[in-house]
Symmetry: C2
Subunit: 301 residues, 2 copies
C-alpha cells in the first residue's frame, strides 16, 4: 500500500473532460479549446475516436478542423470496424503516443461492444493513467464511467427500469455520467439508476458544458450550462421492489446544480469553491460601495 | 396563544387536494372520487370554479357529469366575470354552503386577477378553515399557495428568472406548488424559485396525481404519478447575483420523489410512512419464504 501511494504521488494528474454534447465548434470554442490546452496545446498529439458515430468520417473531419484551427499539428484517428480490430497493435501504438484522446458522440453501446475490455480499451486506461487527457462528448461522455447509462425516456419523475446500466471504460469509478441533461430532461432516468445503486453518484451534464475531473475527485465546470450531481447514499427508495414503469420512491437524495465557476469534490460530494461568473449586480454593488464611502467621508468631517 | 391553540384543537381538519392536471375522468376516476369522498360523498355540496379556464362552460359540464356519476346531487358553479363581481353576496353565500370546492385548470394569473384578495377569495379561505375540502387541478393547484409560480420554460437546469412568483390564495403557506411536473419537465423552473426563496419548499405534482394535505402538514400521495418535494433550506446558491438566464448554482438541496403509498411531513420535510403499492416481487418473495420453510422442515427431521 505504501509503495503504491508513493508511486501514485509521483504520477501525473489524471484528467477527464466529460462533455454533455453539442459543444460549440465555431464560436468561442471554450470547451474544445480547454481540451487542446490540457493535451499540450500546439505540441499536443491528439487521437479522435469516432467509433460511436454513424458518420465517423464527418466526425473526424469536423474535429480535425477545429483542433487544427486551435494550433494542433499532430491529429490522427482510430476507428476499429469490429471488436477483433480493437486488438490491432498499430491502433494500440497510436493511442500509446497520444497526449489527448477525443471520443465522439453517437451510440455508446457501440463503444461497449467494440472497445470495452479490448487492447484498445486497455490502451485508453493506460493513456489516462500516464496523464493524457481523455475527453468525450455525448456517448463519448457516458462511456467513460465504469457503470454506464444507456437508453431511457425523457422526464423528471424517476420510474422503475426506465434506463439501464452497461459496462463502460472504467476511467471514472463511482459515478454514472448522463449527457444532454437539461435539453432531454434526463433527471428521471438518472435518478432511477442511482435509486437502485445508491453507492454511485449520478452526474448529468448539459449541452455545451463539461465536467473537468482531476484524479477522479476534483470536478470543475466549464461551458455555458450546468453539471448536475445527485447523491442518493442517504435516500430511502423502493427500487428493490417497485413494478416496471412505476414511479419510484426516492426520499432524501441531495442534489447539486453546478454552473461555470463551481468546483466540487466527488469523494465527499460537496461544493468546494464557487466564483460567480454570471453576475449582473456589479453596478448596484459598486453604487452601494460608493454611497457608503461617500457617507463615511461626510461623517468624518 | 393558549386560547387559539384550544380553538384550533376543536376545529375540523383542513384539507387540500392539489392535483397536477389531467386527472382521469372516465376510468377509475381515483382522484376525483377521493375529492367527492372528502367532500361528504352523496351528501356533498360541491361548487366548481372554472374561472381559470378559457372554456368555463365546458369545464363545468365535464366536472358536473363526473361528480354526478359519483353520486353527488348538489353541484353548482361560480364564475365571476370580473374582479368586482367577486364581491357578489350571492356568489359568496354559495361558497359559504359548500362542503367541497373544485378549482379548474387554465391560467392561474386569471385567478390572481379576479379572485385573490376579494370577498370570494375570503370565502374560499373561510370554507377551508371550517373543514370544506378545497381541490384544484393544474392552474387551480398552483393558485392555492401563498406564493404562486407562473410562467417559465421546460427543462431541468435551474436558470435565473426563468419563472416568477405572484400572490396566490394563501390556503397553503410555505410551499410553492407546480403542476404537470414530469410531463412538462418543470424541475428547473421550480428549483430556480426555491433557490431565490429557500424558506419555501417546492412541490411539483405529476399529471393524474394529487397531493392530499391535512392541516398544512401531512401530505399523502394519490394517483398514478409522483409528487416531488425540494427542500433548499440548507442549499448554497447564487440566486442573489446570477445574471438573467444564467444556470444557477444550487448545491445541497434535498429532494423527494413520492409515489402513491407515501406520506410526508411538510413541517419537517421528511418521509413519515411508505407502503409499497407497485411491487412485482411478491412471487419471488413467496418462493423464497416457501423454500426457506421447506429447508427448515427438512432440517428438523
Amino acid at each position: 500500500m505504501t509503495e503504491d501511494r508513493e508511486a501514485d504521488a509521483t504520477e501525473a494528474p489524471r484528467t477527464l473532460l466529460i462533455i454533455g454534447g453539442a459543444e460549440d465548434k465555431v464560436g468561442r470554442v471554450t470547451i474544445l479549446r480547454r481540451f487542446v490546452r490540457l493535451a499540450g496545446g500546439r505540441a499536443a498529439n491528439i487521437v479522435i475516436i469516432p467509433t460511436a458515430s454513424s458518420v465517423p468520417d464527418e466526425v473526424v473531419s469536423v474535429y480535425s478542423t477545429v483542433f487544427s484551427r486551435l494550433g494542433v499539428q499532430d491529429i490522427g484517428a482510430v476507428n476499429p470496424p469490429s471488436r477483433s480490430a480493437s486488438s490491432d497493435p498499430d491502433l494500440v501504438a497510436r493511442l500509446d503516443q497520444a497526449t489527448g484522446v477525443f471520443l465522439s458522440g453517437g451510440n455508446q453501446l457501440r463503444l461497449s461492444q467494440l472497445v470495452v475490455g479490448t487492447p484498445m480499451g486497455e490502451a485508453l486506461l493506460r493513456a489516462y493513467r500516464r496523464g493524457a487527457v481523455i475527453a468525450g462528448t455525448s456517448a463519448g461522455a457516458s462511456i467513460m464511467s465504469q457503470f454506464m447509462i444507456s437508453m431511457g425516456e425523457e422526464g423528471v419523475t424517476p420510474r422503475q427500469r426506465s434506463s439501464q446500466l452497461t459496462v463502460g471504460l472504467g476511467l471514472l469509478t463511482g459515478v454514472i455520467v448522463d449527457q444532454h441533461f437539461d435539453q432531454r430532461a434526463r433527471y428521471g432516468r438518472l435518478m432511477s439508476l442511482v435509486a437502485g445503486s445508491p453507492s454511485l453518484l449520478g452526474m448529468g451534464i448539459d449541452e455545451d458544458t463539461a465536467a473537468e475531473i482531476r484524479d477522479e475527485t476534483e470536478l470543475t465546470v466549464v461551458g455555458s450550462g450546468a453539471v448536475f450531481v445527485v447523491d442518493a447514499r442517504s435516500a430511502i427508495t423502493d427500487a428493490h421492489e417497485a413494478k416496471r414503469d412505476a414511479p419510484l420512491l426516492v426520499s432524501g437524495a441531495v442534489v447539486h446544480s453546478l454552473p461555470f465557476g463551481a468546483t466540487f469534490d466527488l469523494t465527499t460530494a460537496t461544493l468546494t469553491h464557487f466564483v460567480e461568473k454570471n453576475a449582473d449586480i456589479s453596478v448596484s454593488f459598486s453604487r452601494d460601495r460608493h454611497d457608503t464611502a461617500a457617507a463615511a467621508a461626510a461623517l468624518r468631517h
